[in-house]
């Protein structure tokens, strides 16, 4: 009954789910770490949230290594996923090459971060440090690898839900790198909060990527649902885990620790409405035959509007709302176009995977 030949080896399917597990672990550690710094404070290399971060990265790195080794020396037909030969020996499918490089970079920057904290101590309030910047970018590469791994699949319902879950995690998880890059690029803009631009760009890119990749109304809407699960789950987990862990290791909570979930202000909880609206727009466009790129751009712009209005509303960032709204909408639309074009490339990845089956069988 399967409409597609099984041209993607099992190791890559299992590998994609392990990338998802690894990144979910990493993100849990990251959100918990943020909550810990706010509510309790002191930490060291071995605190529990940090162990989640390392474990997540470890799972991603080992998964990529194993998939590459099996692709190189395993039996059975060659993979249809576009691959590269590394050091004239190793056959690496692109998603797992990217993930492996991200995890390796993450490890190197973690080492440099340890040195940084030894020299400067554990204050992270002064802004992004060079090692945190490198960590954020490396983790973003791991996020892209996870999305690529699922973008190649999408054959069965569970694989498509895997993509939706990966996108839900990626949307929340992209805050760190996009915020840091945005602060680097847009700090000089008067009246505009660079973090709003960063979060708008992340939301717009990923939402339009899903629209372009799946080209159906179900999956943008489904990513809204998975986002609720991810953000809601972490909002319940992080404050409770922080309180429990502080008690367990005998650390007092800070005087003004409200123990409220920081993850709810780290990314607009109103985002699922935008994802749902993107689904509605897609359904309408399919019926009317409107060009998908217009919907991708509109979804991106909408993500920008939502981000600016949310942060303007809760008032935790200094900004001129009309100016920030215009900038976030324009950037969102631009990222929408970028997301669409990235989706075109990723779809081609999958088409090439399908097209290469006969060759792989002949070989």
């Amino acid at each position: 009954m399967s409409p597609e030949p099984s041209h993607i080896p099992r190791r890559e399917v299992t590998g994609a789910w392990f990338l998802l597990l690894g990144y979910a672990t990493l993100l849990t550690g990251m959100v918990w770490d943020g909550q810990w710094h706010g509510d309790v404070g002191p930490d060291n290399f071995w605190t529990a949230p940090h162990l989640f971060l390392y474990t997540g990265t470890g799972i991603i790195g080992l998964t990529c290594l194993i998939v590459v080794l099996l692709s190189t020396w395993g039996s059975g037909p060659a993979t249809g996923t576009p691959s590269v030969t590394v050091f004239r020996t190793f056959r690496a499918p692109w998603p797992f090459l990217v993930g492996g490089l991200g995890a390796s970079a993450n490890l190197l920057y973690a080492g440099s971060d340890l040195w940084w904290h030894e020299v400067y101590g554990f204050d992270i309030a002064a802004g992004a440090t060079p090692s945190h910047f490198g960590l954020g970018l490396s983790i973003q590469v791991e996020i892209f690898a996870m999305i690529m791994a699922f973008a190649v699949l999408r054959r069965t319902r569970s694989e498509r839900w895997g993509l939706a879950l990966a996108v839900g995690l990626a949307t929340l998880g992209s805050t760190s790198a996009f915020n840091m890059v945005s602060e680097l690029l847009f700090q000089w803009l008067p009246g505009i909060a660079p973090r709003v631009l960063g979060l708008a760009a992340a939301a717009a890119l990923i939402l339009s990527l899903v629209v372009g990749l799946t080209r159906s109304w179900h999956w943008p809407a489904a990513t809204g649902l998975t986002f609720v699960l991810v953000q809601g789950g972490l909002a319940l987990f992080a404050p409770a885990a922080t309180r429990w862990y502080a008690e367990a290791i005998g650390q007092p909570m800070r005087d003004y620790a409200a123990n409220l979930p920081q993850v709810l202000i780290g990314f607009p909880p109103t985002y699922p409405l935008v994802a749902l609206l993107a689904g509605v727009m897609t359904a309408w466009a399919v019926r009317r035959g409107v060009h998908p790129v217009r919907i991708a751009v509109a979804a991106g712009a909408l993500a920008g509007v939502n981000t600016a209005l949310f942060y303007g509303g809760i008032g935790i960032m200094e900004m001129n709302l009309p100016l920030t709204l215009v900038a976030a909408t324009a950037l969102g639309a631009g990222m929408g176009s970028l997301g669409w074009q990235s989706a075109v490339l990723l779809r081609r990845f999958r088409e090439r995977a399908a097209a290469s089956v006969p060759q792989a069988v002949i070989a």
Partner: protein, 192 residues
């Protein structure tokens, strides 16, 4: 005889009871103290877990007004050498305008304190204190010198950290340009 025993016993009891309130906070951690004269004559003892203070290096501060913190609200405005009145940044600091509303120190609840914070700029900082109680507000100022930051110059650290991304950006840019025809030539259909 009984009275002779009672007096030392009372002294010991008094010392024991008074001990914790008068004890210096964070024993073994505070390496230096400074005293700030306040306008109402009630000095504040400021404790530091690092001395001298190096720019960008984390430390804890304790602030102990004579007579304790009970019934008082402490405010400190941290003015950086370049004049930023919110010079000391923190992820969860409570503020009233530019001033930080002083919390109790997490590990020394009998005093106010800031834990794991850093002074990001080299030079002379001004800590402007205001203590509010039922009788009014007293003020005082403490200049604090932050010496040169530890480690290599920041520019070098940033260059080393960012350099590996230059080839990545170049590769992505080349890939993006080379796939232009594919991106432009995509079919606009809705079939997924």
């Amino acid at each position: 005889m009984k009275r002779a025993l009672l007096i030392p016993a009372a002294v010991v009891t008094l010392l024991t009871l008074a001990g914790p309130a008068a004890a210096a906070p964070l024993p073994g951690e505070i390496v230096h103290t400074e005293t700030v004269s306040m306008s109402d004559g009630t000095p504040i003892t400021v404790g530091f877990t690092e001395w001298p203070i190096r720019a960008l290096q984390s430390l804890d501060f304790t602030f102990q007004p004579a007579g304790g913190i009970g019934g008082r609200t402490g405010l400190v405005t941290t003015v950086s050498p370049s004049g930023d009145r919110r010079g000391l940044k923190g992820i969860v600091l409570q503020r009233r305008d530019d001033a930080i509303v002083l919390p109790r120190h997490p590990r020394a609840a009998q005093v106010w304190g800031l834990d794991v914070v850093s002074l990001p700029e080299e030079g002379t900082w001004r800590f402007e204190f205001a203590v509010e109680n039922a009788g009014g507000t007293s003020t005082g100022v403490l200049p604090i010198q932050a010496i040169e930051q530890p480690g290599p110059p920041l520019g070098l650290s940033w260059t080393v950290a960012l350099a590996p991304w230059a080839p990545v950006v170049a590769l992505v840019a080349v890939g993006w340009i080379r796939t232009r025809a594919i991106r432009r030539g995509a079919k606009p259909g809705w079939s997924g």
